[in-house]
């Protein structure tokens, strides 16, 4: 299983992106997207945003679960109070583990935001943040 994860800001701008493979069932945690796949990933996530924009007025939960699919790929979404979107592109259903992954990332995001030197919609460049996201991925996915 391979995952592509992005955090999208309030202006549909990516503020963080990463990919990883599963650590479960003997996976080594490395992403295995073929090079041709990558541009598609961003396109898929981008069009998922349109769906999120509708779903968010119907569902009040932060975890929106799977919002879109494209061929064999699923897009799951978590929306923060301030309309920051966590989008995960994955190829098999895993509702609860993904929920837990998002919860950990949410916490890391709020910590990022509480820093007075960070402003909403800025790119997140902290390597510690990155390692927290990867740790969550390793733990749940």
């Amino acid at each position: 299983m391979t995952f592509y994860f992005a955090i999208i800001g309030t202006k549909d701008n990516p503020i963080y992106e990463t990919e990883f493979g599963t650590s479960k069932q003997g996976g080594d945690g490395h992403a295995r997207f073929p090079d041709e796949q990558r541009p598609m990933n961003q396109f898929i996530l981008h069009s998922a945003l349109d769906i999120v924009e509708e779903v968010q007025w119907v569902q009040k939960e932060l975890y929106l679960k799977t919002v879109d699919r494209f061929n064999n790929l699923l897009v799951s979404c978590f929306l923060t109070a301030g309309n920051i979107k966590f989008l995960l592109l994955h190829d098999s259903k895993a509702e609860d583990p993904i929920r837990q992954f998002f919860a950990d990332v949410h916490e890391a995001y709020v910590k990022t935001l509480m820093n007075p030197f960070y402003e909403v919609d800025m790119r997140i460049t902290s390597t510690v943040f990155d390692s927290k996201v990867r740790a969550a991925a390793k733990k749940y996915l």
């Binding site: 509480m114 820093n115 007075p116 030197f117």
Partner: protein, 191 residues
Amino acid sequence: MSSTKAARIGEEVWKTRIDKVNAELVTLTYGSIVAQLCKDYEGDYMEVNKQLDKMGYNIGLRLIEDFLAKTNTGRCINFRDTAETISKIGFKVFLNITPTVTNWATDNKQFSLVFEENPLADFVELPDDGRAQNELWYSNILCGVLRGALEMVQMQVDAHFTSDVLRGNETTEMRVSLIRIIDDELPPGDD
């Protein structure tokens, strides 16, 4: 006064005579001030330090009255007394912390305050621009506060940070030095 007595007074006043407010509001407000200064001075952290010190100084001039009114502390008999009062009562009734007094100079005119906790710096990480961690003293307002407050009680001091965990140092430490006792006839120094 002894350290324990000062601590007791500080605790008592904190519990009974201080109106309280959500700590996070203060942390966020201070953060907003520092961030705004950094923007306004376009990353000139030395200037930001100066501004924070100035702001602190202005606060200190007024804070001392508030402090004296709330705590009824009498005149400090010597600088050691002052140090205990500042750390166990002063910081306690305003920030609910009690920094440790250490590193006394042999002439008893200099000491350090070591901060285990610093509510002003909660949640904070300095910008990763290669300079902030070498130049900015995030909590510099506290130095100004001490300077202003003590000036109003006839002590001219220098206060500056020598280390800060936000800069990657192991501790957050402020060095306070007594420059001179201000004579009543002379006007207090100003900025």
